[in-house]
Symmetry: C2
Subunit: 215 residues, 2 copies
């Protein structure tokens, strides 16, 4: 059955999902490059970059690969698709990933600005959803056709879906980095009360992987 | 040179140092027993309990043992010494640990209630400090005589010392447990801005050990 899952989402030791001062030059925010170090070394990431011979196997790779298994659609918050503001018209922006984004399935982007679907190379089509997170999930689920819907982030979007009780499972990677400020994934949320417990704990040299699942 | 160090302090995946509803029956708070699982299996802990044959070696043990190396004095917040309230007079309470506490050095307890020093078996003397955290550190440092002062917690006390810029190093163990509520160690504190970075990252099956040190 189709579930809503966060996969491969990285947070810092102090619980932040992205650094401050996000910008076009530095979309993940300050100090956040090191946050994703566990992922950059994997075969899965290097394959996305076009040269999997550079990537290594191991538990980091296993989690990276699992992130793309049985995924029938994605949901992204507005800032995951594009910068908060830029020198272009919204309709010119085609996402961070160039002509062939690494999704290869329908991607539902939460936004306040209506826009026609954007079909890219390789099977990715971006749909822009203006009527809220539940609608986005319903649409993504329909397109996923029994497979899972992967929620890509960012933090604010994950928190909205958590509060709405819609997330079934989250794989998080905790990186050995302090960010100090930014968007806190957990602040003010009581995950056990929302039904979550930690069902997997796989520490590696680069990150501590945890899987939190709703009972 | 004497430094102020937090050692072996355990937090949950969501950053809490203790569960809610602390009480005499459950001094660490709800769900917090599992929080300290990494420590209970170590030789150091089992030796404290009187039977080190039950404990195992390994990185968890290494960190547990380091917690007692070169420690010349301790500082404890009020609740680490005793329950918030109980059916006894304050002066009857001699701490959680019985006649021979596991400190074996002077221990400075932060409190609002003046009380004469309490000498226990095995070298532990509790001193009750009513004139604030800087005074407690000055007194502990003097007693430590060149060795380190270990700050035992709890969360509120560590946060006070962090804000005052007095902590040099923190070894934290992140346990694969969600607490959901309680006292958050990091909330609202910007550790990098306070000068800290992660200088050690040792993941085990039971916890992710990190050492945060001030530049």
């Amino acid at each position: 059955m189709s579930e809503l899952k966060v996969k491969g989402f990285t947070i810092s030791l102090d619980g932040f999902g992205a650094g401050m001062n996000q910008s076009l030059e530095n979309p993940m925010g300050e100090r956040a490059q090191t946050l994703h170090q566990w992922f950059f070394g994997t075969r899965t990431f290097q394959r996305m970059m076009g040269d999997e011979s550079k990537g290594v196997a191991g538990p980091d790779e296993d989690f990276a690969a699992r992130g793309f298994v049985n995924v029938g659609a994605w949901i992204l918050g507005r800032n995951m698709f594009g910068p908060i503001r830029g020198p272009w018209l919204d309709d010119e922006w085609k996402g961070w990933w160039g002509e062939e984004p690494p999704y290869h399935v329908p991607v539902f982007v939460l936004t306040h600005h209506p826009r026609a679907p954007l079909e890219m190379k390789g099977g990715t089509t971006f749909y822009f959803v203006t009527d809220g997170i539940e609608s986005a999930y319903a649409q993504a689920r329909r397109e996923a056709n029994g497979r899972d819907v992967r929620l890509g982030g960012g933090v604010a979007t994950i928190r909205e879906y958590l509060r709405a009780g819609l997330i079934d499972e989250m794989h998080l990677a905790i990186s050995p980095v302090l960010l100090g400020s930014g968007e806190s994934l957990f602040a003010g949320l009581d995950l056990p009360s929302l039904g979550f417990r930690c069902i997997e704990h796989v520490p590696t040299e680069s990150a501590t992987h945890i899987v939190l699942r709703k009972n």
